[in-house]
Structure formats: C-alpha cells, structure tokens
Symmetry: C2
Subunit: 288 residues, 2 copies
C-alpha cells in the first residue's frame, strides 16, 4: 500500500497572492496532504485577458522567480510536493511554465505549457511561446507525478503521454471562467468532463485547481468558475469545490493498488501504436 493524499486549492487573486497561496498550502498540509496543487499563474491577476505590452514585464527567469523561491522553502518545511506555475522569460522567449518542487524543496525541473489558447479574454498566444519541453513526469517523494497547464487539460494526447511515461497522478493548474464576449457560454461541465475522461481512459487520478473571483481588464471581465476537483482512476469526481468559495479539497489514493488495477484492466496492454500515426497530423493526413 502506498497512500498519497492530493489537494486542490482555489482562491481569488488579490493584494497578496503569495500569502494567500501559502495559507492554503499550510492548511492542506496540516490536514495531511502530500501534494498540493495551486492554480495557474497565481502570483498575479490573470493578465492574459487582453494583449497588452506592459504585462511582459511580469515575466522572470526561473532563477529569479519569487514564487519558486518562496515555495521551495515552504515545500521543504511542510514536506509537500508543490508545482508552481509562473510566467517565465528566457532571452527573447516567454513561456507559461510550471516548476515542480519536491517535498525536500528541490527543483525537479520545469514544464512549459504546450497548448496555448487564444480567444477573447484568453489572449495567451500574444504572451507565450508554445512550450518546447514536451510532456513531463517527475519522481517525487510521493509518486511519479505528471503535470501540465490549463489548456493542456483539453488534449487527450498530453494526458496519455504523461501516463505512457508512468505518471501516477496528473495535475492541472488552471485559470478558466466566463467568456467576456460570450456571456451565455459556461464551459465548466465541458471542462470537467474532458479531464474526467483522461482519468478514466488512463486509470489515473486527475487534479485540477482553478481560480475563483472576478478580474477586470479595461472593458473585459472574467469571473473564474473554480469548481476545482479531484477525479479518481475511473474518472468519477472524488472531491470538488463550488464556484466561489476559497479553500481546498483532498483525496487519498493507494498508488500501488492503482498500478495493479491499471495492468489488470488491459488498456495499456491492448493499445495499437502502429495504427496511431494520424495523431501526428493536424488534419488526419491521407484521406480515408
């Protein structure tokens, strides 16, 4: 038996987000969480609502990023695994990056968001290069953990590849909510169903941590819908939050039992990679 407790957190961006995030990590850790997931780009407001030059100044190198430094110390103090999402600059490239911090505070490596959205309220293609790291998993003190970022969560390929690399839990820090130009569109069920599908198809728990609160940017406004959740290995919701209350939820999984279940169910035995070539195309390739 190898029980690991994961927590998903959510809070509204405000005057001191590092403190708000730290308070949630401390609460989750004191209730027994081993891995605590914070939301995407939690240091600041979600600055991608509009394409504005000034916000590039929020980017830092990995070495200089204050959140990574801050949470390395906290991870070590609390003995928790902490993925930290931040706006990374390196030379002339800018990335939506996640730094994976192990429970001793060690920086295990970074992942750069691969799938970059673009649409009213979510102008990420203005700010971010498409990530060049590929999908990553890390051997942490609490299992082999895969993590990707927000829009990546909509792509079965990302989840599958992390699981092919042996991920035992998938983490998705997120910033998603209303659509400034389409107030009738509420994507929360669609969003959740995608990730529950990844959990089910890979027999691997999924954790998503999303913002709450309303943020304004000029004439645009997004109300982030929270509903952070944890899905079990059959894709059923094991714990979830509402769309406005800050805090965290947690769930415990026996990672050894899940490994036994994965191999017995046969999904990773019965794959047919020789038939999957069209996945490497945008339009299916040759006509069928």
């Amino acid at each position: 038996m190898r029980n690991v407790t994961v927590a998903a957190t959510q809070f509204a961006s405000g005057a001191n987000n590092i403190d708000a995030a730290e308070a949630l990590v401390r609460s989750a850790a004191s209730s027994g969480a081993n891995i605590v997931l914070l939301q995407e780009l939690f240091e600041t407001n979600y600055f991608c609502q509009k394409p504005l030059e000034k916000y590039f100044s929020l980017a830092t190198t990995l070495e200089e990023n204050p959140a990574v430094r801050h949470f390395q110390a906290l991870a070590r103090e609390l003995h928790v695994v902490l993925p930290v999402s931040f706006f990374e600059r390196r030379n002339n490239a800018y990335y939506n990056t996640l730094a994976m911090l192990d429970a001793d505070g060690a920086l295990l490596g970074t992942y750069r968001k691969s799938h970059i959205p673009d649409g009213a309220g979510y102008s990420e293609k203005f700010y971010f290069n498409s990530g060049d790291t590929g999908f990553r998993v890390w051997d942490t003190a609490f299992g082999r953990v895969g993590a990707a970022v927000c829009w990546d969560q909509w792509f079965p390929e990302a989840a599958r590849i992390m699981c092919l690399h042996g991920a035992e839990i998938l983490l998705y820090p997120t910033a998603i909510g209303s659509e400034p130009l389409n107030p009738l569109l509420d994507s929360r069920k669609h969003w959740r169903t995608c990730m529950c599908g990844h959990a089910a198809a890979n027999l691997t728990p999924v954790v998503a941590s999303n913002r709450i609160g309303t943020e304004r940017e000029e004439d645009f406004e997004i109300t982030f819908y929270g509903t952070s959740f944890i899905a079990d290995a059959s894709g059923q919701v094991a714990a979830d939050m509402d769309d406005s209350t800050p805090g965290f939820v947690a769930a415990t999984f026996d990672l050894d039992a899940l490994q036994i279940r994965r191999r017995a169910w046969g999904l990773f035995r019965d794959r047919r990679p020789e038939l999957y070539g069209a996945i490497l195309t945008l339009d299916g390739g040759a006509n069928v």
Copy 2:
C-alpha cells in the same frame, strides 16, 4: 442548419435477434432517427465469454453475412444509416467487424475492431485477429460518421483519429456487463466517462449501444448492463437508457452548428503533433 437524429438501441439476445434488431430499427426510424446504432455482434449471444472452438463456426465472410444482407434492405427501405457489427472470416483470419450501410442500402465499407480485450468473460483475443483497417469514417447521407467497436471506446487515440479524419458523430456498438470472476466490479460509470471524455475532447457527439440481459456459457454468466446513451459535443449525456429495458433513445444535433463550435473553441487549432511522438510507443519510449 443540418439536423441529424441519432438513436441508440438495446435488447437482450434471444431466439431471433435479427427480428428483435429490425423491430428496434423500425421504431427508431418511425420516430425520426436518421442513424440507428445496434449493439455489438447482435446476431447471436456474446460467444466470447469462454474460448471455445465451436464458436468459430459463427463467422462468415462479409459477402455471406446474413445480417449485412438483411439490414442493407432495411436501411434502403427506411432511409437510415445502419452500422452492422458481425463476426467476419476471411481465409484464415477472423475479425470483429463493422459494416457501414448508407441510407440507400449501399455498403460503404468495413472497419475491423482494432483493440481486442482479453479477460475472464471477454476472451476476445482467442477469437479475433487485431483489426488491420485502421480507424475509419464514412460520408453517409447524414454526415461524416466514424464508428469503432466496443473496447475501442476506451482508447482516446481511436476517437481522436476518427475526428481528425472529420467524423461528425462517433458510434460504438458494445457488449459489456458484469465480470464473471469479479462480481463486485461494475464498470458502467467508468465505461461511460471514457466516452463522454472523447465527446468533450473532440467536441463531437458519441453514441453507444450496449446489450442487456443475462447470458450463460458453461460456468460463466454475464449480465450486460445496457445504459446505452448519447453524449453531446461537450460530453454531457443527452439521452440514456437503464440497465434492463429494451428499446431506443434518440437525440438530434445540428452538425453545421457543431462544426462552427469546434473551430471557434480552438482545440483542433492548438494541437502540437510534433510533441505527440510518444503516442506511437507502448511505454513512452525514451526516458524523460
């Protein structure tokens, strides 16, 4: 606007399955269905419970199969698209095959089940070669339709590839129920969540038609759990059935509206095929 009505059917195997299937197709068609999905291998009991030599004699060539002939005439009479699942023999190879019949009765082609399960009660690797057709879509009178078979429904790769080839609806004839050696395992939620995930991730409706009833084979017994359903393009259940009542459910989708929605949401724009190479491996390939 291009409204298409799809129906999922379910019934228990009995003395005359062709008649039972025909009655459901007629009911669904008379209520307005354009595409009617029948369950997997509906001509007979689910013979794969145990690996028994005698059941190879159920296989026929495509040209000789009675169900394909029968339902070609019915498809033409009722002007409905009808995928027909059957046990195919060709020379020394045996396949779990689906024949796609257009609304004029034309045979558009066949698909051979790619992913073959194996476990107590589901000894399909004893009977079937792994399909060699790759994943297929067909331009029918009612849209570009993708279809795969049962266990294929657990694999995000199959759904994605059909959608990369332009599938507007995904169909999965199915035979799944209890586990003879594991009576505590009930996979129905897991099963459905996988397919709702495919619908959500591809913004494409999914239809699953499953058996009901209990079938015995020597010391084994399976109670098929039905719960046939139709998921909409955000992965939400649009119509579904219980685990024991024969009949059908239907749902209508505007395929033109769904195409507009797919392109606006950006999932097919933001894919990163150059990062998906590991999908073509069984174990992730190179270490990360």
